[in-house]
């Protein structure tokens, strides 16, 4: 563990906790694991989340869903933009965080910049993707009929195993820009930046529970997430080495949608669409004036 960063003052070590419902609790299990830096030396202790932490995170996401999906799209866009602003202002600190995990300065800077650009890109989509994917359907009867995308609900996310922070921001944006709430299983090896990023979220007007971040062992938590009856979809980063067959089998318990993120096309409204349902609404049209025939 890094004990002293200079000879005169004992540094204050950061405790990395979980991010659930807008709070930073410790894992209820009391378990932890050691996270190493780039050279394999111990860097910090991270929470080894349990299935109960997962349960709490899903509950928080479910509670937050109504409010988040019910906000105006404009407001969601502003909040995503605010995240970008806050991240921009914390660039040095977040860069240092990535460096500790083994990134070079250039890599770290590049990754943070990419995170900010991703947030801004999706901030702009919040009030536009609906217009691309909605339709007014010309039905052959006296009805007004339209289809609009709506968020699926609570999305369980397995985030990237490379470029941990950028990977997390990408999956998170795809989920929350479209009004979903999510529970993110952070990368097991480099989870620290994810938790520090949660501090960005906590100071960005993002309502508690919209994004929840758990650290720990993905293979241990994933079956519980896949089997959870209140999770509507699972989004996996393609870089994660998870057994898809088992995941998809467990996910059938409540017919979860299991989606693999298309990374090659990440800055795209189609990634928001991946986590949307299409709702079609019908309503009769009073049609007296033009025809007069029936009346």
């Amino acid at each position: 563990m890094p004990s002293k960063t200079n000879s005169t003052r004992l540094s204050v070590l950061k405790t990395y906790k979980l991010y659930i419902g807008g709070q930073f609790p410790r894992t209820e299990s009391g378990r932890y694991y050691v996270v190493n830096d780039g050279s394999g030396n111990p860097l910090a202790n991270a929470c080894l989340s349990s299935r109960k932490d997962l349960r709490d995170a899903v509950s928080a996401a479910r509670v937050a869903f109504g409010g988040w999906s019910g906000r105006t799209a404009y407001n969601r866009g502003q909040i995503l933009y605010r995240m970008a602003e806050v991240l921009e202002s914390r660039q040095p600190e977040m860069t240092r965080e990535l460096q500790q995990s083994g990134s070079s300065t250039a890599q770290a800077k590049k990754e943070i910049t990419a995170c900010i650009e991703t947030l801004i890109h999706y901030a702009g989509w919040c009030d536009k993707y609906q217009q691309l994917f909605s339709t007014v359907n010309p039905v052959a009867s006296s009805h007004y009929n339209f289809s609009v995308p709506e968020p699926m609900g609570v999305v369980g996310i397995v985030s990237s195993s490379e470029n941990a922070l950028l990977g997390l921001v990408q999956v998170m944006c795809a989920a929350i820009a479209g009004g979903n709430t999510c529970v993110i299983l952070a990368n097991t090896e480099s989870p620290l930046a994810s938790i520090s990023f949660a501090e960005v979220l906590a100071t960005s007007d993002l309502p508690g529970g919209v994004v929840n971040i758990l650290t720990g062992k993905v293979p241990e938590l994933l079956p519980w997430m896949a089997g959870h009856m209140d999770v509507n979809a699972i989004l996996c980063d393609p870089s994660t080495a998870i057994a898809r067959a088992g995941l998809e089998q467990t996910a059938t318990s409540n017919l979860k949608r299991v989606i693999t993120l298309k990374k090659e096309d990440i800055l795209s409204p189609y990634r928001i669409l991946d986590l949307q349902e299409i709702k079609t609404t019908w309503h009769p049209i009073e049609n007296i004036a033009p025809s007069g025939a029936a009346y």
């Binding site: 691309l132 339709t135 359907n137 010309p138 039905v139 052959a140 009867s141 009805h143 009929n145 289809s147 709506e150 699926m152 609900g153 509507n232 057994a243 898809r244 067959a245 088992g246 995941l247 998809e248 089998q249 996910a251 059938t252 318990s253 409540n254 017919l255 949608r257 189609y270 349902e277 299409i278 709702k279 079609t280 609404t281 019908w282 309503h283 009769p284």
Partner: protein, 489 residues
Amino acid sequence: MAKKTKPLRFDTDWKYDPAPESASAAKINEQYDLFMDGRWQKPLSGKYFETINPANEKTLSRVADASEKDVDRAVRSARQAYEKVWKKMAPAERGKYIFRIARMMQEKARELAIIETLEGGKPIRESRDFDVPTAAQHFFYYAGWADKLNYAFPNKKTAPLGVAAQIIPWNFPLLMAAWKIAPALATGNTVVLKPAETTSLTALKLAEIIQEADLPPGVVNIITGAGKTGAAMVNHPDVNKIAFTGSTEVGKIIQRSIAGTNKRSTLELGGKAANIVFEDAAIDQAVEGVVNGIFFNQGHVCCAGSRLYLQESIAKEFIQKLKDRVATLIVGDPMDKNTDIGAINSKNQLDTILKYIQIGKKEGSAIYQPACSLPKKGFWCPPTLFTDVAQSNRIVQEEIFGPVLAILTFRTDDEVIEKANNTPYGLSAGVWTDKGSRIFNMTRRLRAGVVWANTFNKFDAASPFGGYKESGFGREGGLHGLTPYLEIL
């Protein structure tokens, strides 16, 4: 209701004489083989099974029972047609074939309707006025998409998936075949389709039309059989896409069996739709909507409005109106043009429905069934209303798939939204109110893929259909119905 007012009497002196459609206007073969590679081929199994008319239990025909090897032949034929012909064909030409099929269905509409009714048990009025015309509309609608796919997805290119295995249910045999085949062909895929084992004939009739339309051999293969045949289709390694309409239970089995493969899937599964009536609604039209919502096609409809939520202030009046309306429904011979409620599709399904009616009674709900004389042979269930029902009753929670309506009451908007969404399903919902702002609040907050406001059970080729939650995923109909058959690049 004023005191001492006698209820209206619908046992009138004037009655309608039977007005049967003529079965002789349709030609049904004694036996049907499998339609593969553009030809009728005997099943390798050598086995056939009987299909009956559920209204009189008489045998209509014998259809082939496709084995795993037959499925393999069908998939091979679809694969070959895909690689050698269909994916190479100019999209506009593909479209013209589909248009041709639509037109031929319209030409043979009467015959198709008769067969649909004979084998499925649904009233001839419905197969004639709804099933067949809507099926033809689906082909017509998707035909036009074939050469316009580049306009459907902004900034994207598309590619077909390959061979689609399609398994359809017995409640709308021809219409479901159209919902499956039309978009698959328009997007450049080839098809192996299996109708349900109790309702194979209109799909086989459609095979005859496809043959007559000169569609290249193997582009559409129609094979018959039961669950085992379906399982062989799902598990065939050379299938790229599974499209299934049926129960949530089977949907989950399918989903499990393709887990970890690259097969794409669309599932249209069960439902338990809430139909919500507010006190300011156009009450008589709401009554009609509720009746069509649950008694259309004997209630064999996945999106049937099987849970009725009435605002308390109108509940008593509404239930009276509902009983009056139900008293005028004519239950009986599906071939009679005046029949409103035909035969239950199978003995199996009838047993399920009767089981739930027993459960409803045991749970303490009050039952209402109008007096009607049912034929001796065949499978019948009168329209059934349950009142004094609680949200926790099984007849509220579980899909019955029959003409059985559970009636509950509510007081506030929030209460009814919570109750309506309180189900694992999310296929459809209905709301009846005269207040525009409430309609938009309700339709937005109801978690269902199709929401009917001041109407119910409307379908159209241009209108996407499909569920949230355990009602399945993917959409059929409209522009959104293209997505499940395309790779969007």
